[in-house]
Symmetry: C2
Subunit: 314 residues, 2 copies
Amino acid sequence: MSKAASPIYRRLALVGCGMIGSSVARSARARGAVGEIAVFDASETVRARVAELGIADQVCHSAAAAVEGADLVLFAAPPLSIAPAAQAVAAALAPGATVTDVGSVKTAVSEGLSLLGREDVFIVPGHPIAGAETSGPDAGREGLFENRWTILTPREEGAGRDYLEAVERLADFWRALGANVDFMDPRHHDLVLAVTSHLPHLIAYNIVGTAADLEAVTRSEVIKYSAGGFRDFTRIAASDPIMWRDVFLANKDAVLEILGRFTEDLQALSRAIRWGEGDKLQDLFTRTREIRRGVIDAGQETPEPDFGRHHDRG
Amino acid sequence: MSKAASPIYRRLALVGCGMIGSSVARSARARGAVGEIAVFDASETVRARVAELGIADQVCHSAAAAVEGADLVLFAAPPLSIAPAAQAVAAALAPGATVTDVGSVKTAVSEGLSLLGREDVFIVPGHPIAGAETSGPDAGREGLFENRWTILTPREEGAGRDYLEAVERLADFWRALGANVDFMDPRHHDLVLAVTSHLPHLIAYNIVGTAADLEAVTRSEVIKYSAGGFRDFTRIAASDPIMWRDVFLANKDAVLEILGRFTEDLQALSRAIRWGEGDKLQDLFTRTREIRRGVIDAGQETPEPDFGRHHDRG
């Protein structure tokens, strides 16, 4: 971790300060990426907690007060709340401000933000691929974005030099927080994330729900014997319910497309089991090992067996 | 960890010494649960490595030599290899020996072992619910079974006092290794494990396979952006291919039954997404959070966010 030579933005306004927002605040401050941080959150409880944690210079009682004079306005709220929250403060945005977000869905968010009606601000949607199953300002941590990827989805048509400079400045901000930055078309982002994030969450939520509802196997048995693999899924299935509801509603088409492929493959696998086709099973199970090696080699996963968790002594 | 007052078995013969077998050897020795350990593995490479690691008193060149004089014979091999391996040494078993295994499927293994034709040995199938995605003798570790559950599936009909004593002695052996012990009917075991282990593996293998085969999203993108959830699944999908091929072939009926339920639930979830039924999604996503809390409260999972993995800096 190195401190930026000088702050990249004078004033960061964070609208929404849950796990991701609070990680942005902690990381931006620790790394000197911004001069000052103003926070607004729709929840009074969250605002009070952010004030107690001391991770912002200013905790505001309205979003308009937070964004006043900010050269970076970052919306860290569930996907479907972002555009309405931005609309509500459109008039209060400082001319020349960069407006961004951290939503897991980019097509819907980009469309919503494009209706702000302010030609004198730079709208650059974004998404840091980092997180945990925990929620709220206490769950954030400095360093969450270290060596993770942040994807920016800037507009491609009619982008002038000022806009391109604003994009590059936002990329520098994320790099100062330790992230690698990529640029992508919003639709492609949504398809990629449907694979690497949305479908995994859907599957995890589903299997945990199935296991909880069986009659022949009790919930207590499911819990006791979860170390056979099931417990891995419960982590993801403990993620924020509101945020994930929004993700599936806002990225419906891509999720259903990828889910269709998954279901097709699952039917083929099911058939191979039914007919005792051991070779097919072994082939797939060997191929999938390579992907894990790729993920570890790319620095996106710990190489330690079992995620390194030997802390689970009861 | 505490040492047993005196060894529970004089001589442990381990047939198969991969990750689980080697963890049994390391744990049994560290905790004084057995007097001596003899190992045979069908792979010459594994035998040589076990000798180098020094985790056994004797590395034998035949299974018959390993089981000679052993009062506990433990088969730690993929499910479909267990019964043939036991058949091959049936004549060499010491009278009064306890014969057990660690296979993830119990009905098929129990049926196979029941054909040994030796009325003077005690057959008590077993399954420790513990493991990791790594394979081979180097992957084993002392303490793997600590606070995990081992399920024994003793026969219920015609069990005399000697047999019940043999069952209790084997339970004491697993307790000495740190495990909790439960007893179960083999069919119920196979249904419970289909939920808590086999279906999770099937789903993980499938999603990793689906992601690897897409055209619209490259493999490199899948790997780069895997921290959004996908990487969790790659761990399980890196498990031993032969062992898991055997599990699905040997536990076909229970796996297909549970998979049917999973698929039914997934279709309902898919429909809720298609029709924008946010309340249904949020309800499920809230319910599943409770299961994670149950798993953590039962000491079967680390309470740390993200499995405690902050070691993944590239």
